[in-house]
């Protein structure tokens, strides 16, 4: 089972964001999606869990086409897909414990089981004992880890990360990257990691896809992307906008 995206198109009014994205995420792999700011990486991720509806094309998760799912089926799917938001998107008014427990309570698990699962999730992100804190009392890296704990509390099969390391210092970035790899090996999850940080992409991903002008411009292993001849890919990877100029 996997995620299959075929010819995905999405525009907001006159602004075309995705113009035919096709991408397969293989079972058990970690795929990084790279690309400049505003290229549509978050839009792509949101269509996978039905937060946005594509104008055309299909997204198939575990053999089910997302767009055709009814509300309850969609919720059922979302329990199998953990989503880690760019700025963590923690509920400000709730403690760390309640944030992580939110989804579990919705499943009507008994309170002891909720507490166990929250503990397990906080343990995975190495934040045991932080349950009583409020999000405002945490550092940026800790907030992201709580966001990750909330996403893994369901014990999902898939994890989608929206720029997990953006805005973090290099040391915290390494901590998060290590966690991403740990989730992948401990839980055996299939992951999609959106990033514009090449160091992170090399560190966590088995394959890297580059989104450019509404389509997948390149997909391959870290070695393949390092060896790519395409000036657009090279320009991005090497951080040299001069290479990308005037190419389409």
């Amino acid at each position: 089972m996997s995620i299959e995206i075929r010819d995905l198109r999405k525009a907001f009014g006159p602004k075309i964001v995705l113009s035919g994205v096709s991408l397969e995420v293989r079972d058990g792999e970690t795929l990084a999606v790279i690309g400049s700011s505003g290229v549509g990486k978050s839009v792509l991720l949101k269509t996978i869990v039905g937060l946005l509806t594509p104008d055309a094309g299909t997204v198939v998760v575990d053999g089910r086409e997302v767009r055709t799912l009814g509300r309850e089926e969609l919720y059922e799917l979302r329990r199998r897909v953990g989503y880690v938001f760019q700025f963590a998107a923690l509920f400000d008014s709730m403690t760390v414990f309640d944030n992580v427990a939110m989804g579990l309570r919705r499943m009507r698990l008994p309170p002891e089981q909720v507490a166990d699962r929250v503990e397990e999730a906080l343990d995975r992100v190495e934040l045991l004992g932080y349950g009583d804190r409020l999000p405002a009392e945490l550092s940026g890296g800790q907030r992201k880890r709580v966001g990750l704990a909330r996403a893994v509390a369901f014990r999902p099969k898939y994890l989608l990360y929206d720029e997990p390391t953006t805005g973090l210092d290099p040391v915290t970035t390494t901590v998060i990257d290590t966690l991403i790899r740990k989730m992948s090996s401990d839980l055996g999850v299939t992951s999609v990691v959106i990033t514009h940080d090449m160091t992170s992409a090399y560190r966590v991903a088995g394959r890297i896809a580059m989104l450019f002008e509404g389509r997948i411009r390149f997909i391959g292993t870290p070695d393949e992307i390092r060896a790519a001849a395409d000036p657009v890919v090279r320009g991005f990877v090497e951080g040299r906008p001069d290479l990308m100029q005037g190419v389409a």
Binding site: A89, M102, R106, A151
Partner: protein, 261 residues
């Protein structure tokens, strides 16, 4: 010349389309709220908190407004009547005006500023920080979780607040009448009772409930409609207050036309 003539027309046309589009969006928002309303398991447990918050937020300002309105009503009545009409009519006027009109409307307007703005800012912030999306990914219906308990709390609590406002308004009028005007308590009370109809109170409560529905729905609508960053939240908040206040005045006229004839 041509431009200056057509520009306002184009503007009017564009605003009309915008307004029509807004009504369309409000329609689909209402449908989603109605669907969320069936999800009692999600919002039932949140209702008490929202009712308490709403009461705490609105009572002080509502009572403040009502007390001073009662004082002014009494003074104006006595000024207007100057000898031509028996002074105990001050009681009639305070009671009628407070309960039929100013209690619900001024409370509604004050709460459009307080409660409507608060809801729009709160949900708007959750929207732009992706907390609304996060609710979705945790298999919650954001409309059932955020909008429904606030709207139901509004429908229940506005009438409660308005009853207090009506009472405080009349009390303000009474204190003014006995301390500043040449009126005794029995006379004021006689005026209160003279044209009193239980229907007046019902009318006041119906209006209050409809204002509660309106102010909270409009707050939620603009909150959920927020896209962008912090400045977008500010914009939604202002829009919620303006639209909520206008809706209250229109509804007020509607109720008068529908029930007072």
């Amino acid at each position: 010349m041509q431009r200056t003539l057509t520009a306002p027309l184009a503007w009017v046309g564009r605003s009309a389309t915008d307004v029509a589009a807004s009504f369309g969006r409000f329609g689909s928002f209402s449908l989603r709220v109605a669907r969320g309303g069936r999800d009692l398991g999600t919002w039932g447990g949140l209702l008490a908190t929202q009712m308490a918050r709403l009461g705490v937020q609105s009572l002080p300002i509502a009572l403040f407004v009502a007390a001073f309105t009662g004082i002014v009503l009494a003074l104006q009545a006595s000024y207007t009547f100057t000898g031509a009409v028996p002074l105990y009519f001050v009681g009639v006027l305070v009671q009628k005006t407070m309960i039929l009109e100013l209690g619900p409307v001024l409370t509604g307007l004050a709460l459009a500023g307080r409660v409507g703005a608060n809801i729009a800012a709160e949900i708007g912030t959750m929207k732009v920080t992706e907390q609304v999306d996060a609710l979705e990914t945790l298999a919650y219906d954001p409309f059932a979780y955020l909008a429904v308990p606030r709207i139901v709390a509004g429908i229940i609590m506005f009438p409660v607040v308005v009853v207090f406002a009506d009472a405080i308004g009349v009390l303000g009028g009474w204190i003014t009448a006995v301390s500043l005007l040449d009126l005794s308590t029995p006379e004021f009370v006689r005026g209160l009772q003279l044209f009193f109809k239980p229907f007046d109170v019902q009318f006041s409560l119906i209006k209050a409930a409809s204002f509660g529905l309106t102010v909270t729905s409009v707050g939620c609508f603009f909150g959920f409609g927020t896209t962008g960053g912090a400045e977008a939240v500010g914009r939604s908040t202002t829009e919620a207050v303006v639209a909520g206040s206008m809706a209250i005045l229109v509804l007020d006229a509607f109720w008068a036309a529908a029930l007072l004839r």
